[in-house]
Amino acid sequence: MEKFIDNLSPMDLMRSEKMSLVQLIIPVESAHRAVSYLGELGLLQFRDLNAEKSPFQRTFVNQVKRCGEMSRKLRFFKDQIIKAGLLSSIHPVVEPDVELEELEMQLAEHEHELIEMNSNSEKLRQTYNELLEFKMVLLKAGSFLVSNNNQAVAKERELSENVYSSDRYVEASSLLEQQMRTADQSGLRFISGIIFQSKALRFERMLFRATRGNMLFNQAPADEEIMDPLSAEMVKKTVFVVFFSGEQARTKILKICEAFGANCYPVPEDFSKQRQITREILSRLSELETTLDAGIRHQNKALTSIGYHLTQWMSMIRREKAVYDTLNMLNFDVTKKCLVGEGWCPVFAKAKVQEALQRATFDSNSQVGSIFHVMDAVESPPTYFRTNHFTNAYQEIVDAYGIARYQEANPAVYTVVTFPFLFAVMFGDWGHGICLLLGAVVLIARESRLSTQKLGSFMAMLFEGRYVLLLMSLFSIYCGLIYNEFFSVPFHIFGGSAYKCRDATCSDAHSAGLIKFRDPYPFGVDPSWRGSRSELPFLNSLKMKMSILLGVAQMNLGIILSYFNARFFHSSLDTRYQFVPQLIFLNSLFGYLSLLIIIKWCTGSQADLYHVMIYMFLSPTDDLGENELFWGQRPLQIVLLLLALVAVPWMLFPKPFILKKLHSERFQGRNYGMLVSSEFDPDVEPDSARQHHEEFNFSEVFVHQMIHSIEFVLGAVSNTASYLRLWALSLAHSELSTVFYEKILLLAWGYDNVVIRLIGLAVFAFATAFILLMMETLSAFLHALRLHWVEFQNKFYHGDGYKFKPFSFALIAEDDD
């Protein structure tokens, strides 16, 4: 048996890739090239040998800074391009990579040019906008002034008429009037300007307060949005004219204008002067416009030429920065002529890494080649699975729980099939399955297009899981055929029903039931069960027992995987004192239950399995009576019970005691601790010098073992019960779809009215799509996830490893997008 197992060919994906800790010694002159070749290869994970140094104490900090500066410039270009409304070209020109220094100069040049252009056009634009505002103010404020003057004139005339009508009043009032007129001419002034619409109200209030109401405020909204000369944003503005009197008020008002950011423009009172100024402004505006346009064209041209290279430059800078970041993780050796790096590399990739290093040496004309050798590792290597499009999503499902310990059995292998299957047990409906299948097929068919696009988080999740979705839908079609459910409608696909009515009228079908008149329905549930009185009891019993069978099978698989783990890591202790008692315990209780279920199904016995199981514990020696399924059941039960009882101390006690014994044997006579030399020993590799010091704490080990055993014993019961969720969710799904079908679609179809039928159809479609296809899928997915994470994986999976993160340009590009 053991030989057979050893001779099995290794399964792909079952064990993570073998890794080795390698050391690279690269001459300084070829280091940059070597690292960038390794980045293209993407199969080496560097270890940070300078972790204690802060980022700016490292060797290549200046280069990193320069890259940071350059990427800032590139971001600036990108902003400018977006601001100018140009699209960066979709098909960037691919040019041979330029040298970093050259690129740096180019970028600086471009930036300088752009900034200069911006400042030039900025000045022009500011004058332009100011003129535009002035024009607006002239137009609006001019009209205020005119109407005001008219009013004033009218009033004056009225007054004078009054005055002249009564001669008696003339003498008394003429002086006063004269005074008033002079005041009117010299004292009544106005300030006109333009202000943000949002601030206008507060501005007016402030003016009112400051002048104690001695002012007249006129305002009119500007017709169009104006670009503010200072902030260069399009805003709504309001033109205002304030009339006031007195010098003090003037300074106050000007200050307030300043505080509110209102731009004041002088408007002459004289109408002809106004016109003249307006004309002047208009001519200057048109001049400026042509200059501005020319400037913008020039700028756009410069930006487009930058835009051609932008993507290439960006990716180049990103790679350069990554290379220098990696170089910063390397150490200088004693002579300062070589860089020493350590890293993890999959065994299969060693040759490729070596080849890349050689290529780098050759390409950089270095005199000395790089040295590449394998070192001993104390810490556990990273976990690396070579997945493809299909397996990746399943590996992600497992990784979401925890990354596998190095080389431990990978549950993803089984998850590929068991996950979609358990999902389908809960989601068994071949109508819904076909809907899901269509979705999955669409995603897969457009795979190449969608993978280049940037998707929303929800779509991205769906797209990532497209192959999971595919298998889930296929399995749910399969399970749907077994359950004979199609939107809860039974179909006679595999021939006719095995049941028929007792007589032609079928009157007693619901009281006395049907009779079986031929062989059972060949595949799945007989369509005649649908709608019958015994439908639920029958399906419940079927699904419940099936769930237990599936659960016990999967948990056994988990325990068997723990055996393979123990074999792989050569831990006979785990095999003998963990795997064997666990297997015995689970199978003597729930394996026996599964056996009973199968026998009951095969023989059609009427035995009560609850009763058998419960009294197996309460009174094992009692006679089983009518519940006896096979000969010798009672002695078997007693044996199984005893086995289960023995298995508990078996898995609890021996392992910690044996560990203690082993430990004391190994360290016998070594009562004194090792002397740790404080000096650095040059002969010894830095890594092997680190002593692996392990302490044995018996009570800790024992408590750990106790927790583990108790967890398993209790878990055996609760996990089996947990698998009943398969039944529950499946029941809920079929009941829900029945409700939607019968209570909505059939009810609406009962009316002979097109509108009601259409409404019923719409509601049915909506409920099916959102509740059954989305919510139910999600819930079944989550329950399947839980069954895998908790019930299956806790039997063998440690999940305390860490992922292999190679230094790779491809991964960096992905991260940035």
């Binding site: 980022p55 700016f56 400051a210 505080a259």
Partner: protein
């Protein structure tokens, strides 16, 4: 009330609590500060900060950096986060958060008024103002000639209006009057904030009354020391002390009659919490007092922050250069 406030806490403050905890995770750690101490140029600092939460705020600054830019950007982060929280907050937390900004508002008002008095440019002054204490018509402060105008023109619209009602005099604005105005405003503000916190009750009252009492006492000591040798009468001085805190009322009586720094020390050493602060100082020294008080304040704020309750821990340490 005290026992049950946690029951509905998440309904009102759960989201903000989560945000505050998130911000807390983004604070610079002791190792960060150690590394910052080792920086030799401002570029080093930028580089180090780019790995922290402050990174996005600094990354687009062109290379010759100035200290002011760094501080400005880091403050901007604080302000952005604070404003976000303020927007998300519901009553009474939003009022609480607003109360915290009033202090900055008073400082800004005083800054602008003093600046205008010395004929500085308003724009320049505005840049120096703390962004948390900005209000709409702050620039108009420059228009006002005396206290009454100040109130009538500008402050009547701001939340500071009720505090101001106490110090409206038609006196002209000069340095002395402005200083008195600042202290009167602070007195009214602290008392109001204290009352508000007491009204809220629970852990807020407990923590905040401690912090506010400390603040009130600190101001009382500062007023005393600064007014020694000026023409401020004892009664006027007495009026500027806030009516709560550890020193109230007997400590205030003693402080009001102090004539030199050693008398202040004598008065303060009767209070155990302040004994430790004064014990660090040698006799006759008042320069270090500010620093000692500041350290004590930061310590108390940290303690409050560690308790992680409501907005009490909303102050983030800025980057010190």
């Amino acid at each position: 009330m005290y026992g049950f406030e946690a029951m509905t806490f998440n309904i009102h403050g759960g989201y903000l609590e989560a945000i505050v905890r998130g911000h807390r995770a983004g604070l610079l750690t002791a190792t960060d500060y150690n590394n910052l101490c080792q920086c030799e140029t401002l570029d080093d600092i930028k580089m180090h900060l780019s790995a922290t939460e402050y990174g996005p705020y600094l990354q687009n600054e062109p290379s010759p950096l100035h200290t002011t830019t760094i501080v400005e950007k880091c403050t901007l982060k604080l302000v952005d986060e604070y404003k976000h929280m303020l927007c998300q907050a519901t009553e009474p937390l939003s009022t609480f958060l607003e109360y915290i900004t009033y202090g900055h508002m008073i400082d800004n008002v005083v800054l602008i008024v003093t600046g205008t008095l010395h004929e500085r440019d308003v724009q320049e002054l505005l840049e120096k103002c703390h962004p948390l204490g900005m209000f709409d018509s702050i620039a108009t402060l420059a228009v006002a000639q005396n206290m009454r105008e100040l109130y009538r023109l500008v402050l009547v619209d701001t939340p500071l209006a009720p505090y101001f009602s106490e110090c409206i005099t038609s006196e002209d604005l000069d340095d002395m009057n402005i200083e008195i105005m600042r202290n009167t405003l602070y007195k009214a503000y602290l008392e109001d904030f204290y009352k508000f916190c007491q009204k809220l009750g629970g852990a807020t009252a407990e923590i905040m009354s401690d912090l506010l009492a400390f603040e009130a006492d600190r101001r009382a000591v500062n007023i005393t020391i600064n007014s020694i040798g000026t023409e401020l009468t004892r009664d006027d001085r007495r009026k500027l002390y806030s009516n709560f805190g550890l020193l109230y009322p007997y400590g205030h009586e003693e402080l009001a009659v102090c004539e030199d720094i050693d008398q202040v020390r004598g008065a303060m050493e009767k209070y155990p919490p302040y004994q430790s602060i004064f014990s660090k100082l040698s006799y006759g020294e008042s320069q270090m007092l500010d620093k000692a008080f500041y350290e004590e304040e930061v310590k108390r704020l940290c303690l409050a922050f560690e308790q992680q309750i409501k907005g009490a821990g909303d102050k983030e340490p800025d980057v010190d250069l």
